[in-house]
């Protein structure tokens, strides 16, 4: 079985499981019974979860007959994707503690470095200058022009 076909099967399973989980969560909602009211807060979630389950089954059926298109030859660099997601998560996780100005500089330098194309040289000095200017410009603009209280961390401006 080809990768594309496996992915279609996996998607069918994901839809089906999502539908079942959503239905279970809906069944656990505590809705007070009111005489004469047939459509309560659980009605729409039940309809949606049922549709999801049906779609999951249909997707599994469609995956059986799925004919993959010829590969386009594009190489997906999952290593860079993983590093990018990791950097974003780290940035957000430490934002409150270390503050916006510092974390933004660190994140930008690291992200520029990770995304630099193979045929270009990593220029830490230039990246640092761009990161410091961008961080300061964004912080000062939103702090003083739009009164946004971005986290400052240990540095109180």
């Amino acid at each position: 079985m080809g990768d594309a076909k496996k992915r279609e099967y996996l998607l069918g399973m994901v839809i089906l499981v999502a539908g079942i989980i959503y239905m279970v969560l809906t069944s656990q909602l505590k809705v007070p019974e009111r005489p004469g009211v047939h459509v309560d807060a659980t009605f729409v979630p039940y309809v949606l979860s049922s549709i999801m389950c049906i779609l999951g089954v249909l997707q599994l059926r469609a995956a059986k007959n799925f004919v993959p298109k010829p590969a386009s030859g594009d190489d997906v660099d999952y290593g860079t994707v993983g590093k990018t997601i990791g950097l974003i998560l780290g940035y957000v996780a430490l934002l409150d503690f270390a503050g916006f100005p510092l974390m933004t500089v660190l994140y930008l330098v690291a992200q520029f470095t990770v995304l630099t194309p193979h045929d270009k040289k990593v220029n830490y000095a230039l990246y640092s200058v761009i990161a410091i200017i961008a961080s300061a410009f964004i912080y000062l603009t939103f702090r003083y022009m739009f009164d946004m209280m971005l986290p400052v961390g240990p540095f109180d401006f």
Binding site: L11, M52, Q111, L115, I138, M148
Partner: protein
Amino acid sequence: MLSLFQQGIEAVFTFEIFGLVFFGTVVGIVFGAVPGLTSTMAVALFLPVTYSLGAGAGISLLVALFVGGTSGALISAILLKIPGTPSSVATTFDGGPLMEKGEGAKALGVGIVFSFLGTVLSIIALVFIAPTLAKIALSFGPHEYFGIAIFSLTLIITLASGSMLKGLFSGVVGFAFSTVGIAPIDAITRFTFGQTQLNGGFEILTVLIGLFAISEVIKVAENVKHEKAATIGRVNMKSIKGFGFSMQEFVGQLWNGFRSALIGIGIGILPGIGAGTSNIVSYIVAKKRSKYPEKFGTGVIDGVVASETANNACIGGALIPLLTLGIPGDAVTAVMLGGFMIHGIQPGPLLFTTQGVLVYTIFAALILSTIMMLICEFYGLRIFVKLLAVPKHILLPIILVLCVVGAFGLGNRIFDIWTILLFGMVGYGFVKAGIPQPPFIIGFILGPMAETNLRRGLQLSDGDFMGFLTSPISGAFLMLSAASVFWHIYQAQRARSVKRRAVVELEA
């Protein structure tokens, strides 16, 4: 109407709004021109900037970004042969070959002028259709709104590109996410897992930024390391007279332009689809109706005219359902709906009676940004060309930081930043699985409208579902919804059987 229009024009000619419209148009053109950035992203990113502005100024800025972003895509479509946004895919078909033939200036001139004309025609349609539709919509009750919401949901799902199953799933998931928080009518808390931050549900802005901007940044990371800088075509603007084409060529394209504008306006009005679809449909129609269809794709201005007029004509078209019914016509207007909500304004028929000046300020801002788009694109072309060379590995991380600031600004909470990351991952998952994103947004926005009006309607008709069918407008929309779904299923089945027959014949 005339007095309101006058007040609208007076409002946009204040220093603040005039400056914002100019800024928005220029930034929009840059976002449209740089491949990987879109007008949806531009509008989503600048929503936080509107927090501290008045409603008129804020919405005018968003409108200018929309106009600039839709038109700016033609620059890279012609000079790089890469569409800046999906709205200019068809522009590359003839714009690229024209550039290769040394007629790049003509292609750009035609594209800019007909972008302008397409926008102007769509604004005329908007100004005349919207108030009339709003008057009719004033008599709508819960039954009618439920019918319209269901019709819009089914339409975007059936018109979603690619698999109908995946489009449907996308819409349903969007609807499901909208059920998080306090339920309408009886105020039951749903799916919050004890998190009080979720009581109000997910903020539309966090959903939009996550789905359209964060997922795009992650997607670019897939191949940015192997990317080679695109060659930017050179155009000598100094030797060009006027807009680079003759009066005879202009007159010869008027009917093509008018037809393409009508296609663009029509597609713009339909919920869920917009400029990304209209440019291709219009190009196909222009080719079919042409006296020389064989020349399309080799570098004829007809192709550029069809694509650029139609994509810009979607602007006014997409604003018609947004302003009159509160239903977004495409992804950009979905983001703009978020902009209205930030300012405490609910688009819909009442907007025309309660916020008449604001509505006409929007119309005037549209006209002003269209004129600015024409001037800026033509005279600032050399600057925009230079911006195309800004490397993505520098640009995209800065955009991500702006997304983070935008999410934080919603309620000064880190929680909202985590939310954009959640929806960014959902959006990236959708991209990898080939699931279209627009149905998710439409499901997320129209879901609560459908649920609230379903429950209100049932309260009005004592729990009787027949009320939705006996109301002529609601009944008609529900019938149309059913018809559109069945028609799509029939078409899909027919296509499958044709494919199967072809495989059998090939094997025989």
